[in-house]
Amino acid sequence: MNLTLEIWRQESPKAKGKFETYKVQNISADCSFLEMLDILNESLIDKVQLPINFDHDCREGICGMCSLYINGRPHGPDDEVTTCQLHMRKFKDGDTITIEPWRSKAFPVIKDLMINRNAFDQIIQAGGYVSVTTGGVPDANSIPVNREDAELAMDAAACIGCGACVAACKNASAMLFVAAKVSQFALLPQGKIEAKDRVKAMVAKMDELGFGNCTNTYACEAECPKGISVSNIARMNREFLCANVK
């Protein structure tokens, strides 16, 4: 496949970025999207040019490091996959592909396509954990968990924190991420104990960091590589309401 790529290049967080056009040739349809970018970077290095910075780590769709807003969709044209799991067969020979970083005030660009998602870490630090006193390992199944809740908690815990929800949302809202993190605990007995403080702290942090407000457009759910449902957002809305009423 021969492709034209329009890629956002930005020297540093403060620098003014712009789109540059690159051509790549003879790309195999079985190549992953990131491998295609690796090939482009190799050719740039050969020409003694600066390679394009982009985030990745596991390349197995589990770490949530890869990002990229590809042709108007976070993680590109495939559903429920991360960019590292996207294959070039989803494109046609001769296509022009526009590649942009996630755009959000809370996710500043570090360089080129690489963004700082530290805001998510701060939200987790605000309350996305369960306090435990260490000691002997408790017996498995000593705390009974209803099957249905366990399933829902697992579904919420599938969130890899990639930020596609923020990238997709027209309001750059982090609601789906925060809701998934709130839900995975709120559904389980271990998490219920701190549920009220947790939801208050995490929502306050989310607001403070400058993410937008949810207007129920559900683009987040459509673009989540892990298929996290917006019913989690409703659960967080309930949790937060109850936490503030009582």
């Binding site: 969709r73 005030k105 750059a172 809202s173 407000n213 129920n216 457009t217």
Partner: protein, 223 residues
């Protein structure tokens, strides 16, 4: 008490939703009154309803909430929207291709149109009711004859057409608003949410058709 402007994003949305639900309930009452215009009784029922709404103390009590509801809903809507615009200072080059609820993307615009409509509507009716402007038609020389006022407005084809368009935009706003209010309040359910969404569509169609029957009736049947 914290100022409403300092509320968390979620609390602002609760208030938006509750105010919105109240306004949507009121619309049904309003529609019922408007439909009296269709009776061939020279405005007897319609004027009786208008008189009741203008004088009954319970209605007057709720009127306070109605104005508060409109004010808060508009104010919070604008604030939330400005924050949302600020949350993405650099726009994407490629237009979004994500699957979303279509009408949800235009709430601030449809909301603005509804607001303009409200202003026109207040100038035509409410100001007269309050005695701020001279009534164009009166019953017994003092109380405004809203039946004749409405009839005169709808006799103007341009007014009727604008009315029909604006009410249709209101319908677009309501269609998303109805279901979104439930989600904002945390009411999402695998069985009931799809029903709520269907009901939202039915509700918004009924509102649009119900209100628009009247200008259509005056345009074609009562010329």
């Amino acid at each position: 008490m914290k100022s409403i402007l300092n509320y968390s994003s979620l609390s602002k949305k609760y208030v938006m939703a509750v105010a919105g639900i109240f306004l949507m309930t009121f619309l049904v009452v309003h529609l019922a009154i408007n439909l009296c215009l269709l009776r061939n009784d020279d405005g007897e029922w319609f004027n009786a309803a208008a008189h009741f709404m203008g004088t009954n103390y319970i209605v007057k009590f709720f009127e306070i909430f109605l104005f508060l509801g409109i004010l808060i809903h508009v104010l919070l809507g604008v604030i939330l929207q400005i924050q949302n615009w600020m949350a993405r200072p650099v726009a994407y080059k490629s237009a979004s291709k994500s699957t979303t609820s279509f009408l949800s993307k235009y709430m601030i615009y449809t909301g603005f149109v509804v607001f303009v409509f409200l202003i026109i509507h207040f100038m035509n009716f409410y100001f007269m009711k309050m005695g701020w402007v001279e009534p164009t038609f009166t019953l017994n020389g003092e109380e405004p004859d809203f039946y004749l006022v409405a009839k005169a407005l709808f006799a103007n084809n341009l007014y009727s057409i604008i009315y029909i368009v604006l009410i249709t935009v209101l319908g677009f706003h309501l269609n998303h608003a109805f279901q979104a209010a439930f989600q904002s309040l945390g009411l999402n359910h695998p069985v009931y949410t799809p029903i709520i969404k269907k009901f939202a569509t039915i509700y918004s169609i009924l509102i649009v058709v119900g209100f628009n029957i009247i200008p259509v009736y005056f345009l074609f049947c009562n010329a």
